[in-house]
Amino acid sequence: MTDNAGHEPDAEIQDQYLMERVRSGDQDAFAVLIRRHQQSVLNFFRRLGAYSNAEDLAQETFLRVFRYRFKYKPVAKFTTFLYTLARHAWADGLRKAMRHAAIAERVANELPASDDGAMGRTRAAMDAQMALEKLSDKLRVVVVMSMYQGMKYEEIAEILDIPSGTVKSRMFTALNQLKEILDDRSRAKHE
């Protein structure tokens, strides 16, 4: 289920090699790097709540990878570098509350209205997506990173620049809140 599943040491070494090539101006290497991670990054933003602009945010993230290519140090995992930039791209997108409001509304408007909608999502998936969107941004990002991106708490802590104990407590709070939200939705359906 995790987008990073299988992104193990070999893959890490390949990413580091590709970044090295990008630093020396190799466009083909950058294209390969993008293709390796575009699905994961795209889904990261969709699960955070972006929908129509998820691709814009993903593109922006890769452009930042290129801009900051000289800041990347191979001692760190490439995905840590990548998702730190993705997180910043997301935060920048949220900085203007109005834009956030517009995005939230578009998300609400664009989500499929029924089980057999264009995206083929099940009702359970839609409920889960709705529940995720009700979390605060700081809780949602921890859930998305650990549940879907398959990151370790230590890596999430590094990306968000918070202690790993805080990641753990946010995850606990998030799961508690998600349980309440999903229970409420379930009760509402049966009433």
Partner: protein
């Protein structure tokens, strides 16, 4: 089945509950796993929670992974200018430039007092030259083509360079020196700071940090005991509202205690000045003078403060929003100080009204807002080559908040006009000329800061 009494809080929640998520997500070391499983056998609270959390996780996993509709690599690579591919590591030229700039700043810092003004100006230019380089690495390209984004980036960078070069040594931008009325120095300084902060989320720790910090410190030294920023004057709520907003945006970037305290006092003053009348105006006690143009600044500040967690503001905001609605005609046009009164047109006031409504409600839709947006679409469509900085600042914000293809097109058109009108040469390169009815009050720093904010 028993509970481990020593782990239970008064609310009946086991303190080991924090370990449930790592347990279910396979994030425990073997040793941690053994210990937790031992605990789990005897803790009813954790057992219940494990079942509940497992169910939540199962449901969350129902969200499918979606494949990209198309390969993004060609588009992304096309957005990178060809020359960027041949750039070498900044450990070479750019780092050397940084070191030289730092050395220059140090020398300037210990230089003779007699030339301190000139040194400060040069330091500003050196810092903004770095900022320009930095800016190229920071600015997010918009959805339109790379060339246009590059033009905007360049325009903002040269505008900030000009602004940095015109800052006084104590951190202010002297309103009178740049064609404005002197009593607006605090407001003009705050607008300039907003231009820096809104353009760069590293405004407080990047290359422009010294300029921005000097400006913020200046604002804080201009706060009265009552909490008011700037002098006591008829127009004080413009100064105060914009200065509060600048401090809030700085606080959003850095949770500095000095900012927080200054903001707290400023908010108290703002609420007190509302004086039970639901809005603000030129004279605090004369209800007749209350007006939309002044109101939108302290109101925006309160809305921003509320979003940043400053408590107790919702009732004040609610009253002001209600007042704004009473100023709105059935057709969605926002009036100045009483329904139907439009001494200087309704474009700017309606756009400002939309900005406040949307920010306070957190959404674009709603009968009032939709009518107002229809007014703005018509208004933006009718704008010609003559810039109204005040109106365009709110128009671009309101339309961007709405989003959508039509709004994007209108914003792009306004921004193209702004880009075309930026001064390229002469004594003030990077700034914008005084051209609209409010330029005489705000001066060149105002026209430039408002243009930068409209280009975001």
């Amino acid at each position: 089945m028993t509970d481990h009494g020593q782990n239970m809080s008064e609310a009946g929640v086991c303190s080991r509950g924090l370990d449930i998520a790592p347990y279910l997500q396979g994030q425990m070391s073997p040793n941690e796993l053994t210990l937790f499983e031992g605990h789990l056998k005897t803790c009813a609270s954790c057992q219940t929670r494990v079942v509940a959390f497992r169910k939540v996780i199962t449901q969350l996993k129902q969200i499918p992974t979606e494949a990209p509709i198309r390969d993004m690599a060609p588009d992304i690579i096309a957005r990178i200018p060809e020359r960027e591919w041949s750039r070498s590591s900044p450990s070479g030229g750019f780092m050397l430039f940084l070191r030289l700039a730092a050395l220059f700043l140090c020398v300037a810092g210990v230089g003779l007092l007699a030339v301190h003004m000139r040194s400060a100006r040069q330091s500003g230019i050196a810092a903004t030259a770095i900022a320009q380089e930095w800016k190229h690495a920071q600015v997010a390209p918009a959805k339109n083509d790379g060339q246009e984004t590059g033009e905007k980036t360049q325009a903002v960078a040269t505008a900030l360079e000009w602004l940095a070069s015109t800052q006084e040594t104590d951190g202010n931008w002297d309103a009178e020196k740049w064609g404005a009325e002197q009593q607006y120095t605090v407001g003009i300084t705050a607008l300039s700071l907003l231009a820096f902060i809104d353009s760069d989320r590293h405004a407080l720790d990047g290359p422009n940090a010294a300029t921005v910090s000097r400006g913020l410190n200046y604002l804080m030294t201009r706060q009265s005991e009552q909490g008011r920023f700037g002098p006591e004057c008829k127009e004080q709520m413009y100064n105060h509202g914009i200065a509060t907003l600048a401090l809030l945006e700085a606080y959003a970037l850095k949770k500095d205690d000095a900012f927080k305290q200054a903001i707290g006092r400023a908010i108290q003053f703002t609420c007190k000045q509302q004086n039970g009348a639901d809005s603000w105006g030129y004279e605090q006690s004369a209800v007749r003078s209350l007006n939309t143009s002044v109101t939108v600044w302290p109101l925006q500040a309160l809305i921003r403060a509320d979003s940043l967690g400053f408590p107790g503001l919702k009732p004040v905001i609610k009253r002001s929003i209600f007042w704004l609605k009473t100023m709105t005609s059935p057709d969605g046009e926002v009036a100045y100080s009483k329904p139907g009164e439009f001494p200087d047109g309704y474009d700017a006031l309606t756009a400002a009204g939309v900005v406040c409504l949307v920010k306070s409600q957190g959404r674009v839709s709603g009968g009032d807002t939709e009518k107002m947006l229809a007014v703005l679409h018509k208004s933006a469509d009718e704008q010609g080559e003559s810039i109204n900085y005040y109106s365009w600042y709110f128009l671009t914000q309101a339309l961007q908040g709405e989003g959508g293809e039509q709004s994007d097109k209108l914003v792009t058109r306004l921004q193209r006009t702004l880009l075309a009108k930026q001064t390229r040469s002469g004594p003030c390169p990077g700034s914008w000329d005084l051209s609209d009815q409010w330029s005489a009050s705000g001066g060149r720093v105002y026209t430039t800061a408002m243009s930068v904010l409209s280009l975001q």
